[in-house]
């Protein structure tokens, strides 16, 4: 069901997770389909994390980090940015579709951007419908 879709979101501790906090403190509304996982820096996002999320049944994955120049470890987000470009191609080739994956930069003060991006992603995935990868992989034989 489109209402049950699950999106795994990775947020870096210093900016994007702060953005989620800002959105929360300001009581901005966004759909509950998102599960946020905090990592210290977006540069810590290993492509294995993203693929594992899809394998375990995520319908979409959203990776967020600091704006360019703001990474607290200097350049983690630049590295993540390059990795994501390869990952879009990989998930497309694996039939998951590049639309189910998204990355963007959200600062700690951008509560508004946080809630808007989440809404955008949830709508996008609802339109695509659930990813049945997990069901497919569980088929025996």
């Amino acid at each position: 069901m489109a209402e049950d879709i699950k999106i795994v979101m990775f947020c870096c501790n210093w900016c994007s997770y702060g953005g989620a906090d800002t959105a929360g403190t300001a009581r901005m509304q966004y759909p509950p389909n998102i599960r946020v996982i905090r990592v210290m820096c977006s540069g810590r996002i290993d492509p294995q994390f993203v693929l594992k999320a899809f394998k375990e049944g995520a319908d979409g994955v959203f990776v967020a980090g600091c704006h360019m120049g703001d990474c607290h470890y200097d350049a983690g987000n630049y590295k993540l940015d390059r990795r994501m470009r390869l990952l879009y191609k990989l998930v497309e080739d694996m039939g998951i579709g590049k639309e189910r994956l998204y990355h963007d930069w959200i600062s700690a003060s951008e509560g508004e951007k946080f809630s808007e991006s989440v809404k955008m992603m949830v709508n996008r995935i609802k339109e695509l419908g659930p990813a049945h990868l997990k069901d497919q992989l569980e088929v025996e034989g």
């Binding site: 540069g43 290993d46 492509p47 294995q48 693929l51 594992k52 899809f54 394998k55 360019m68 120049g69 350049a75 630049y78 590295k79 940015d81 390059r82 990795r83 994501m84 470009r85 390869l86 990952l87 879009y88 191609k89 990989l90 080739d93 694996m94 039939g95 998951i96 579709g97 419908g129 990813a131 049945h132 990868l133 997990k134 069901d135 497919q136 992989l137 088929v139 034989g141």
Partner: protein, 308 residues
């Protein structure tokens, strides 16, 4: 001397190359035969599937591609005390695993109807008296209880012969856990394994003699590949394609390579290099990074429409 151990060998979804590497034991075969006797081997001798003896050691090549593979694997699982998962097809699905990018219908149509060398005017796909393909290739451990994994496409005969002799003598076997770069003789640049461009080998010609291939623009799977082969390919100026599979610390060999290549791409201009540049130069991500291990990857098969 005590009774000789009973060894069996079996092939499932493989190419028989792994059996050639057993046949290639050379003089070590004599050491093996001193301790053991081959009792069952459909590839090398006349054997019957309904008369399989109890075995002390079974060496299995190939993964699970069809229902016959599964049936035989289940039967042999009951017959053997110690099972060696032999070769990359058995351990990780291997090259046949790239079939997981297609549906069974697509594979059958390609094999029986579309392929240029096939003459089949009535477009008949045989489905009686032949094993049926399963929905995807799976590594052997999905069906059998594995005691030892020996990857390689095929595994190096000398290494395996040593391991088998040690096993038969009751010694413990330790396979290396480091990655290929650790044993590769090529010089690693101090700034790390970074690329500024990606090229195919024919575009580069002969690579520089002693320098790491990655820093010369060639995709080498060394960083994500286990060092069991002793870096055979980079030693002779060919990039590693990852045929021995990942190290034990890596869940997904391809994803690890995506990370290794992309993270350090253009590192000298870390903040100004176009982030698309690396992706633009790699067309076949799955074919490049998952040549040997797709069935064991986190996402082991292409998601079909709706996934049903």
């Amino acid at each position: 001397m005590a009774d000789k151990a009973k060894i069996g060998t079996m092939w499932l979804g493989g190419c028989s190359g792994c059996h050639l590497s057993i046949a290639d034991f050379h003089e070590s075969l004599l050491d093996v035969l001193e301790l053991a006797e081959f009792e069952f081997s459909p590839v090398l001798m006349d054997t019957k599937y309904d008369e399989v003896p109890e075995l002390d050691v079974l060496i299995v090549e190939g993964g699970i591609r069809n229902d016959e593979n599964r049936e035989l694997a289940e039967m042999l699982n009951e017959k053997a005390k110690f099972i060696i998962c032999y070769g990359t097809c058995a351990c990780y699905g291997g090259i046949p695993g790239l079939g997981n990018l297609f549906t069974v219908d697509e594979l059958e149509e390609e094999a029986y109807i579309n392929s240029l060398s096939t003459v089949n005017p009535d477009k008949i796909i045989p489905n009686e008296e032949v094993p049926h393909l399963e929905s995807r290739v799976r590594p052997l451990e999905d069906v059998m209880d594995i005691d030892l994994m020996v990857p390689g496409c095929p595994p190096r005969s000398d290494v395996v012969a040593q391991a088998v002799v040690a096993l038969l003598k009751g010694e413990t076997i330790e396979l290396p856990t480091t990655n290929l770069c650790e044993v590769c003789p090529r010089e690693k640049p101090p700034e790390g394994l970074a690329m500024d461009f990606i090229k195919r080998q024919f575009e580069v010609g002969a690579p520089e003699k002693d320098l790491c291939l990655i820093s010369q623009g060639l995709v080498c799977m060394g960083p994500a590949t286990v060092s069991l082969c002793g870096a055979e390919c980079p030693s002779i100026a060919i990039q590693c394609r990852g045929c021995y599979g990942p190290t034990a610390k890596v869940l997904d060999q391809g994803a690890k390579m995506v990370s290794a290549i992309a993270s350090d791409y253009g590192i000298d201009e870390d903040k100004t290099v176009d982030p698309e540049e690396v992706a633009n130069q790699l067309d076949d991500i799955v074919g490049t990074f998952y040549t040997y291990t797709l069935p064991a990857a986190l996402v082991p098969a292409k998601m079909q429409k709706g996934g049903k």
